[in-house]
């Protein structure tokens, strides 16, 4: 991927005081609101457990539910395509768009298509893809990358957004109005005018989906702006690209997530727009509907007994908003469309751990556990992080061979109390000559920011021997 490792990418973000202030304000506001919205429900714990169980049951028999979904979608007039990886999914979508004869498409925010870099692929095929989610539009116009699951442009402030609109809207379609200010109302109106033109012109829409209901072949998108509904209803052809883990067996199961998702993500009791579509209908909505079911590493994750719980994720972003590491490092440092704690466990499973960035992600956490506490489907993120660290350490990539040797040496000493005691005694006896700052990897980084403690005159075990035994 060529991305720098997490600590390197985080280094610059930590020093960017504007970014840190933006992130701190946004994440603290939403986390406090979320806590209040969740506290309103007296059955939250039961909902969380139900969501976990539904997802686990679905994942256990994923093949059955996907086949059921395919049958239902087909019966309702849709066409199902299976894509093993990003390249296959991109080929399928590009061919479907080309078959319509169109050279532009509108898109409702979809993480799956970002994951496979569909926009870049379509562009190479001469097809322009327009993002219509407001935050996605900001990211696309700014030639930027998303940094949050729910608020992809969380790292941008209003002034930056105004400048992006003024500079870039014109080359993509309707330009920004003269004298555009940075008030939210004016920015929203500029986006509305720009996008309305695209909605009315587009013949092809591309979407993701939050859920797919197997029993009826129904797809579901939840959103706040209504732009997604425009994409889903106005074009003649609708192509939905969805990860295979998004299936739920029944409408009854869906009910649980329609309660937990909005409260966890936007701290709302209910999201403003819930759009559902089932195949095609005469004289209403798209005349052709294609569902591209995306694997792209998901069955590999499914095969991992500990790691598979990451596939329960409903993309609410509650874990990002409580994560102290995300708050300081920002979303870009994670080098993936999936940032934050969930990204740290999902990305290395989808992409493997061979690149520098993917091998560093399992360590991008202090294991504080705040993410697990808020997760509406009870993904034990710290457990998966440690599990993935084992995988990375075993693979022995950059630095881990040295680390393993050091850990082995430490464990050897720690398994011999007499050797340990001798070492402690030596360290205590020489404490007056210990430097406050140390050389060497690890020790140097530690003492860049902190003083090492002054060692005691004697370790505890010597005190005990002299005073109590």
């Amino acid at each position: 991927m060529g991305m720098p490792s997490f600590p390197k990418a985080a280094h610059d973000a930590v020093g960017d005081t504007t970014l840190r202030a933006n992130l701190r304000h946004a994440t603290h506001t939403i986390r406090d609101k979320r806590a209040r919205a969740v506290a309103e429900l007296d059955d939250w714990a039961a909902l969380r457990e139900a969501g976990k169980r539904i997802k686990d049951e679905t994942l256990r028999r994923l093949d059955t539910y996907l086949v059921r979904l395919e049958a239902a979608v087909t019966a309702a007039g849709g066409t199902v395509h299976w894509a093993a990886d990003a390249a296959e999914a991109n080929r399928i979508v590009a061919a479907l768009v080309r078959a319509t004869g169109e050279t532009e498409v509108v898109k409702v925010k979809s993480m799956a298509t970002q994951e496979i870099r569909l926009n870049e692929h379509l562009e190479a095929e001469g097809i322009a893809a327009y993002e219509t989610d407001l935050a996605e539009l900001i990211v696309q116009l700014g030639e930027d990358r998303p940094s949050h699951i729910l608020v992809p442009a969380i790292h941008r402030n209003r002034g930056e957004i105004r400048d992006i609109f003024k500079e870039k809207m014109g080359s993509w379609g309707r330009p920004a109005p003269e004298g555009l200010s940075d008030t939210p109302a004016e920015l929203a109106e500029a986006a509305r005018l720009h996008l309305r033109e695209k909605f009315l012109r587009a013949k092809v829409g591309i979407s993701g989906a939050n859920f797919m209901v197997a029993e009826t072949g129904t797809l579901v998108v939840v959103e706040s702006e209504g732009n997604g509904r425009m994409c889903l209803t106005l074009p003649e052809t609708l192509i939905s690209v969805v990860g295979i883990e998004k299936v739920v067996p029944t409408w009854r199961d869906l009910e649980v997530f329609l309660q937990t998702l909005p409260r966890s993500s936007t701290a709302e009791r209910m999201n403003p727009y819930t759009s559902m579509w089932t195949g095609t209908a005469d004289e209403d909505g798209p005349r052709a509907f294609h569902l591209v079911l995306l694997d792209n590493g998901r069955t590999d994750a499914l095969a991992d007994e500990v790691g598979r719980q990451a596939l329960r994720c409903i993309r609410c972003s509650a874990c990002l908003n409580v994560c102290p590491v995300y708050e300081r490092a920002g979303g870009h440092a994670y080098g993936s469309v999936y940032p934050g704690p969930i990204g740290a466990i999902l990305t290395p499973q989808l992409r493997g751990t061979s690149s520098e960035i993917d091998a560093s992600l399992p360590y991008a956490s202090s294991l504080c556990g705040a993410c697990y506490e808020v997760c509406p489907v009870a993904i034990d993120i710290p457990e998966v992080l440690v599990h993935l660290r084992e995988r990375v350490a075993e693979e022995g990539g950059s630095g881990h061979r040295l680390e393993k040797a050091a850990i082995k040496a430490a464990s050897w000493i720690l398994d011999r109390p007499n050797v340990l005691a001798a070492g402690e005694r030596l360290a205590s006896a020489t404490r007056k000559v210990h430097p406050k700052r140390l050389p060497g990897p690890g020790a140097r980084q530690w003492s860049d920011h902190r003083d090492l403690p002054e060692l005691p005159a004697e370790p505890f075990r010597d005190w005990w021997r002299k005073n109590r035994s």
Binding site: R20, R328, P417, E458, P459
Partner: protein, 238 residues
């Protein structure tokens, strides 16, 4: 009552005063304390860094060291959480230790049934609940109730108390910038309370925060909860 003290490797080598304070406190409350010398480290640093195989011998050593004790008391929420939550994955013998291990405040409140331990500490104190004690053990109000009962002590609320301090074991070394940024924010919050002492129940967090405080030379020091609870009018602690 007789208990085994699990002092932890960090306390043994770097913060023996916490172990001494724990012994004095427990003895003052009529508890007989043993220190099984075969103990070293619970294996958490190795385990959390991804070295499960290297953790095994330390788990077995710890389990053997505390064989036969009904109560094992440890002045660290983090090490208690390691034993209780992760030892079961190392076999049934290791799993059996978990229910017998008590973090210090759990032992005082739940087993001895005391919140007023007869301590005297005339200082303004703010309390940082370490993540593992807070979320993995669910210590809840136990540490605060113990501190509130200390004579002369003024307990002030720490803003953002439940946020991680940024230590995280090897996280502090592997992600030094993020770790330091988290620690700096924790210290800013602690200083805003006007407290003289930043108290915690885990010396690993205090190693990190105390190290930053020493670098900054602020009028705030980090101190383990056990040392505050061990302090009396007759024998004031430092």
């Amino acid at each position: 009552m007789r208990v085994a003290l699990f002092v932890t490797c960090v306390n043994d080598a770097v913060f023996p005063a916490t172990g001494v304070a724990t012994v004095r406190l427990l003895e003052r409350l009529g508890v007989e304390v043993d220190f099984p010398a075969a103990q070293t480290c619970c294996g958490q640093p190795q385990f959390n860094t991804g070295y499960r195989e290297e953790t095994g011998p330390l788990v077995r050593r710890t389990v053997r060291a505390f064989e036969g004790y009904e109560y094992v008391v440890v002045p660290s929420g983090s090490c208690a959480a390691m034993v209780r939550h992760h030892y079961p994955s190392f076999g049934t013998e290791a799993a059996a230790l978990g229910p017998r291990v008590y973090e210090l405040t759990e032992f005082l409140v739940d087993v001895l049934g005391v919140t007023d331990v007869g301590a005297y500490f005339p200082h303004k104190v703010t309390y940082h609940p370490s993540c593992h004690g807070l979320r993995m053990l669910g210590l809840g109000e136990r540490p605060r109730r113990l501190l509130e009962a200390v004579k002369g002590l003024e307990l002030v609320e720490l803003p953002g108390a439940e946020e991680c301090c940024g230590f995280g074991g090897t996280f502090a070394v592997k992600n030094p910038d993020v770790s330091a940024a988290m620690g700096a924010d924790k210290i800013t919050n602690a200083l805003s309370t006007g407290a003289e002492v930043l108290c915690g129940a885990d010396n690993s967090c205090l190693l990190h925060l105390g190290g930053m405080l020493r670098r900054r030379e602020d009028p705030l020091r980090a101190l383990h909860l056990a040392e505050i609870l061990a302090s009396t009018e007759e024998e004031p602690w430092r």
